[in-house]
């Protein structure tokens, strides 16, 4: 019984939040890694692309809510998501046409692209704040919980509760679907194969008749979709505030780099590694150990490795260690 309690406590406070957060990071990191792999630069505007996508979705969600359209127990935002994706694709293609294409024709160095994306980031930053404002926005509706902590306790008779929010469930399921579709697309379709070819060797791809502008366009469309989905899921699960998306950029890049920039599998693994290391290393293990160990060994202290103040330091420590010993990341991405 005690062991079960320990397991439930661990699931409730570490596994469930870690999985949800990890999925959100993984989706974000996939977008970053695709841009890096195919367009060959680190896109600093990604966090704000997520914010833009989430913003469009929120606006349409509000419109749906006022019209009385809802998805029953699921959040209305899921219905608005396709429109949000379309809006973000529009914005991504627009910035590519007006900004990035110019530098591509110049054959500008990657570092110039990075600086350009920084400029795009500030532009998007401004657009989002201009339209929806810098404050907190709430748009989650529908059933809040799959299982409530109290109901779980009554059902099982355990001392510890387990809560799973609807948004956490949706996050994980959506992430699995999106990743499966993405891999099928990259590996099985003609367009996906041409994208991978372009990523592996640009000149050879050109020689074999692949149209680079098309590859670039598809890449932006996929990245915009990924960014919107990640942004909406994050906003549903936590709350939407433009500034938090800007801050999300750091753990997302950490995930992509740890996994190996340019490698999609690496991005997913990196997302979960960063998320779980943030939660587990700063977790106070007292409760779990008190349940799990015999009474004589039960700890008095909190058994907390690091105070939660350091949770961001944790992901960067991991990043540095990986870069020192495996500069291409855990899954052999391109050298940074």
């Amino acid at each position: 019984m005690d062991l079960l309690n320990a397991l439930v406590a661990l699931t409730n406070f570490v596994v469930v939040p870690g999985l949800a957060y990890g999925s959100q990071l993984a989706l974000g990191a996939l977008g970053v890694t695709l841009i890096y792999g195919i367009l060959r630069f680190s896109n600093f505007a990604h966090g704000d692309t997520m914010a833009f996508g989430a913003m469009v979705t929120i606006l349409i969600t509000w419109a749906f809510q006022s019209m009385g359209i809802s998805a029953g127990p699921l959040p209305t935002a899921l219905l608005a998501l396709p429109f949000g994706i379309l809006g973000t694709i529009g914005l991504a293609l627009l910035t590519d046409r007006t900004v990035y294409r110019f530098y591509r024709q110049q054959k500008a160095k990657p570092v110039i692209f990075v600086m350009v994306s920084l400029g795009v980031m500030f532009m998007m930053n401004g657009i989002v704040r201009f339209i929806i404002g810098p404050g907190d926005q709430r748009f989650a509706d529908g059933e809040r919980f799959i299982i409530k902590a109290r109901t779980f306790k009554q059902m099982t008779g355990l001392d510890e509760g387990l809560a799973i929010k609807t948004t956490q469930g949706i996050t994980v399921i959506t992430a699995i679907i999106v990743v499966a579709v993405l891999f099928w697309f990259l590996n099985k379709t003609r367009t996906g194969k041409s994208m991978r070819a372009y990523s592996d060797n640009e000149d050879l791809a050109l020689l074999s008749g692949i149209n680079p502008e098309r590859v670039v366009m598809y890449t932006w469309m996929i990245v915009a979709a990924l960014a919107t989905i990640a942004g909406v899921l994050y906003g549903l699960d936590k709350s939407f505030k433009p500034f938090t998306y800007f801050q999300l950029l750091l753990p997302i890049f950490a995930s992509a780099i740890v996994g190996g920039l340019g490698n999609p599998i690496g991005a997913i693994a990196g997302g979960f590694i960063i998320a779980f290391s943030e939660v587990t290393i700063t977790y106070a293990w007292k409760k779990v150990l008190t349940y799990g160990l015999p009474d004589s060994l039960a700890p008095d202290g909190l058994v907390q490795l690091l105070s939660t103040d350091y949770k961001f330091a944790v992901s960067f420590a991991i990043l540095i260690v990986v870069l020192l010993f495996k500069p291409t990341g855990l899954f052999k991405g391109k050298a940074v």
Partner: protein, 397 residues
Amino acid sequence: MKKLLMATAAAALTAGTAYAGGHAKEVKLGVLFGFTGPIESLAPAMGDGAELAMEEVTKSGKLLDSATVTSVRADTGCIDNGLAVANGEKLVAEGVNGIIGGDCSGVTGAILQNVAIPNGMVMISPSATSPGLSTMEDNGLFFRTSPSDAREGQVMAEILKERGINSIALTYTNNDYGKGLADAIQSSFEEVGGEVTIVTAHEDGKGDYSAEVGALASAGGDILVVAGYLDQGGLGIIQGSLDSGAFDTFGLPGGMIGDSLPANVGADLDGSFGQIAGSDSKGAEIFAEMAKERGFDGTSAYASESYDAAALFLLAMQAANSTNPADYVGKILDVANAPGEPINPGELGKALEILAAGGDIDYQGATGVELIGPGESAGSYREIEVKDGKNETLRFR
């Protein structure tokens, strides 16, 4: 701001000539607040509050030999020690008889050490709440009309104890206010025999608080006390704790009391409780009314404390029959506390008369002033419980 200053000065001047009857004497009070910087939105109402008391006294014509009271405004920048000290010295050079200020705790300490003590100048701060100022060596020259955060810690500990709570988990917003308050709550609660299972900081403006909530939940405790801000990290922590079933009831200090919290969290917050500085004295209403007439918001934070600070200066001068800091400093506690006739805002003229006749007053003012210990407000707090999605006042402490 400049125009406002000019207008105030002009108003004070005309008021002076009109009512003072050949102004026999002039009393100058320095108003040293952060008119620029982080609390620049609060400072104008604070300045107006202080000047309201000065005007009232000048109009009554009963201070000393029908003296006029003039306000000299100066800026602290709230966090700029250099600016604050320079302006404090400037005020002394201009011959002020007392300084109302500073406002933020850090600069207040700096002005006290570098200006007030060397010059023997008296300071009454309306808004510096840091517990550190209670123990700072001040040669008896420093007073404040706001309670120390240490006092809020004691009040919270009392409330917790009375509700039969023996252990708390404590999280605070990672800044001076949060840290100071958390220290105060922890030490007061441990003094009355309570147990604090964990003290952990949280950053404002983050989306994800699952790591913090996980740590807090693991440490356990009867309730979770959140010394944060209601529209910032404090809200995120409470939401996260409720979602994961970590805590059901929350202790809410002043920064967490507001209408938006119950509205955002919903029915789950019912039963949580806390306290915020505030008094049930009649004075607060009267003051708000007076402020409205004069064209500023009397309920703005620390405006009423500023009125009281100015009033205390002038009443103490009357009681000592002198405008010399060394003479009147000893009278400040006398006029502020019992025994004597209770004095509300708007009754400063009456108070001056009583003092002139050698009587005793108990200045209540806009905040129910009661100075304790090293010359700081005893601090009355409203005890609040969330019921049916609303903050309800249970009683005053």
